[in-house]
Point group: C2
Chain length 219, copies 2
């Protein structure tokens, strides 16, 4: 399958996960930076290949086969991120940028080799789950966003959901990293801002960031 097709089914899969964002052609088009007309064309072509179900004017739905392909691409993406992060010590932003291309030129064989080398990790360096070779994700996810946490509790960072360089730079500078511990000292004005303590520093985060940082409460 071509790069265009792989990016397309991946975009449908990701948009489909969060029902706020839907999978109508226009949204996929926006995500991929192509015209709406191109998205409609591609939708028809993918329906022909049995990768999606397409009904005029309706949201796009992946078939089982389509979802499998999407998960394969996502698996390769996240394995690359984990591999480059570990071996070459690249930043969260850099690994994502490279993985976006490498994901399409990686044999299943190589993906498995990388996975094995890393000890078959279940999560990538952003905390995103890595599908296994059969396209299954073992997501027992009971994490919440930082914006929903309670004052006076401690949490472990479980996921940094973004692909923005500025955000990742900020995280790196302030020790906001997958697996690190933070303490929520105050929630301001109906959770529009969150004050946390980390590494004996106090930092104040606004909603833009607290909504993409996922955490698990420490019992």
């Amino acid at each position: 399958m071509s790069v265009a097709i792989e990016n397309f089914v991946k975009a449908i899969y990701k948009n489909g996960k969060h029902d706020d964002n839907d999978t109508k052609p226009g949204n996929i088009a926006k995500k991929l930076g192509i015209s709406n007309a191109a998205a409609t064309d591609m939708a028809k072509s993918l329906a022909n290949k049995n990768l999606i179900n397409y009904e005029k004017y309706k949201a796009l739905e992946l078939t089982e086969e389509g979802e499998k392909l999407a998960l394969k691409v996502i698996r390769k993406h996240r394995l690359w991120e984990a591999f480059l992060y570990k071996t070459l010590e690249m930043s969260l932003h850099e690994i994502h940028r490279e993985a976006e291309f490498l994901e399409h030129e990686t044999s299943d064989f190589l993906a498995d080799k990388i996975s094995e080398y890393l000890g078959n990790p279940k999560f990538d360096p952003h905390g995103d789950p890595i599908p296994n070779a059969d396209g299954e994700i073992t997501t027992k996810d009971n994490s919440t966003t930082l914006s929903k946490t309670k004052e006076g509790k401690s949490y472990i960072i479980s996921r940094l959901m973004s692909d923005d360089k500025e955000f990742f730079d900020f995280c790196a500078q302030n020790g906001l990293k997958y697996g690190n511990k933070i303490f929520v000292s105050k929630q301001f004005s109906k959770n529009k801002m969150t004050q946390i303590n980390i590494n004996s520093n106090t930092i104040l985060l606004n909603e833009d960031f607290t909504k993409i940082i996922y955490v698990n409460e420490i019992q």
Copy 2:
């Protein structure tokens, strides 16, 4: 530059190295598995982009710019081979197969990271030289093929020039590896077969193999 273009200039560069194989469209076409007509089309298009000089019915010649691009692709290819060979312990055949695709989706930044990780190696696991970031190859190559060696002398393997799985499998099984030492015990019938000793085994190689195994004499 597209994958098609990168493979094309790389093929011209490689065919141009050994004047037995020339760089006329037909030979490039054969190497890439495309029609002669497609090769002519591409030649015109590359001339337009100033990557080659094209004159009807003549051999194709890379411009300085074209050669730079070819060397960049070759650099990435060989860095990938070295990186995968080291980290994932893949075979010579496997690393080549993967590198053939990865070479086109690797930023200069990532290539430099890989190079640095490996200690800026000058040769890949086949013994092929790796161009540096400026596209320079430091090839002070005084190696000869095994077919030209003399009885009773010892040599170090410096290069395995092939992309054939059977050959590499044979090499792996018999300790024929970049950097390993061999002793030439006999040359048969005008060097059509060569008998060598390696790891206390005696093996007899015919010309198909002795012409793609390069060695340096041990003084």
